[in-house]
């Protein structure tokens, strides 16, 4: 089950994706490809369409055209609730922890979408904080714990393509470091990860490739070994 063997299997392919919120045209023809076992980031300023790309994959935007293939299945035109069953786990920016359920109930809520997901014990081993607080209501957790819960929740389902939206936002450096370690562990397990990230220094050492977004389209694809030479370009696009 080494991840190298599967490098060339396509997990996600997006072709000419346009997305709309009502009248406004948000994404202008996105093309991207993520292979199995890769960790790819979407970089860009606020409002450049990174979160919308992830939401489009989950069919959570108003209207979308083009093609989104997940594990070889066309998902444009598929009802939103069926997409997770293709093995997609989405961790939204606002985390979506359910306040009326406790930690363990939150963990057990998502349906299992494929075999090979982590067991409850494995999850508690990876996130010891959650084990200690498993009977507390979901929103009584600290921000970092909530983020861990939001991630842990999709790991149990067996999803092998994780879409993570701004998981480090507003968290203490220690917790950001822990999340980085978790991501590396998940990558070693052969999971495919698409990461939307504001914090470039967090994403750079983890990712295989970066897509740079601006005004709803992808302007540059950067492999991790080209980072040095394209640093200037990155700074112009990301610089404030």
């Amino acid at each position: 089950m080494s991840s190298d063997m599967k490098k060339d299997i396509e997990q996600l392919r997006i072709a000419d994706l346009h997305a709309f919120y009502g009248e406004s045209h948000i994404l202008h023809g996105i093309d991207m490809k993520v292979n199995r076992g890769e960790l790819v980031t979407l970089l860009g300023r606020n409002g450049s369409g990174r979160s919308t790309t992830l939401k489009s994959i989950m069919n959570m935007v108003g209207k979308r055209t083009g093609s989104i293939m997940v594990n070889g299945n066309e998902t444009v035109g598929m009802p939103a609730h069926q997409i997770p069953h293709l093995g997609v786990g989405f961790c939204p920016e606002e985390r979506g922890i359910f306040a009326s359920l406790n930690v363990e109930e939150n963990l057990m809520l998502p349906p299992t979408v494929r075999s090979g997901g982590m067991t409850l014990d494995e999850i508690y081993e990876m996130f010891p904080n959650l084990y200690e607080r498993r009977m507390s209501p979901g929103t009584r957790l600290s921000g970092g714990e909530q983020q861990m819960l939001a991630m842990a929740r999709i790991l149990r389902t067996g999803a092998n393509l994780l879409l993570l939206d701004e998981i480090t936002e507003g968290l203490a450096p220690v917790i950001v470091q822990t999340l980085g370690e978790v991501l590396l562990k998940l990558k070693d397990k052969g999971l495919t990860i698409v990461l939307v990230e504001q914090n470039f220094r967090f994403a750079a050492p983890l990712a295989d490739r970066h897509y740079l977004m601006e005004h709803g389209s992808i302007v540059e694809e950067i492999a991790s070994n080209e980072l040095e030479e394209k640093m200037d370009l990155l700074n112009t696009y990301l610089g404030v």
Binding site: M60, H81, I83, H85, G96, S100, M108, P110
Partner: protein, 322 residues
Amino acid sequence: MTTQVLNSRVNKTMNKTKLSFLILLLVGLVAPFAIYPVFLMKLLCFALFACAFNLMLGYGGLLSFGHAAFLATGGYITGHTIMQWGLTPELGVLAGTLCSAGMGFIFGKLAIRRQGIYFAMITLALSQLVFFLYVQTPFTGGENGLQGIPRGELFGLFSLEGNLPMYYFVLAVFVIGFAVIYRTIHSPFGQILKAIRENEPRAVSLGYDVDKFKLVAFVISAALAGLAGSTKSLVFQLASLTDAHWHMSGEVILMTLLGGVGTIFGPIVGAATVVTLQNYLSQGPLASWVPVILGLIFVICVLLFRSGIVGEIQKFMKKNFN
């Protein structure tokens, strides 16, 4: 260490709920010796009706404004099958419940795609449709309703003519209905319902077909409302148009909100309050003022204690005795 403490705390609350159920059941068993049984039966029927409604509003987050249709359907079908086909009471009640569930399925299929006020309006429109249907169709007796429904013999063995045996039958029906609701809320299904109420897009993105879960909840709620209506028609030996009128849909909302929406005992307390007030006030000089008084109470409830009687008590307990 901490987990043990947590576990024992969870067990303690579990035991507490169990104990309160047991006490309530005992109270229910001896109550007819202290209070007029027919009044108690009316109370239990409305409590079951409000509990069924609470399943939709409190746990599914859906405000249905057409639950009267299910109450009335249960009553009419039970009355009709017992009077015309000579069914025993338990079969009549079962028939009423099943018809209400079927009607709930149709209502739900049509209304569930819409949310908030649109959902309420569609259910109201459908229940008005049912109301006018019941005014016109001959089997309901139109304005007169079905009168003199025989209580009959349970399983063909025990006569329910007396008020005491009838009371224990109603109590049994209530306990069964309440148990169904309790189980529904405390099952994985109930947790998914809560998740949908809180954050529907998130529940969809986790992979749940939200409409299907809402529909199941709606059908369960409609069936139990029908069960309440069926039992009520046996108690009063009468099925009338008042049950189908939209006033009834409003009344059940009042009961649920007054008692505490989203709490397990709230609807019972709310139903008890409303039914008691109606009964006592209608005998006194304030008889014609009952709607005004209920309206005032509702306004006060919304302004001062929004989480209802039981909801406020729970808050108070949490603040002071935890």
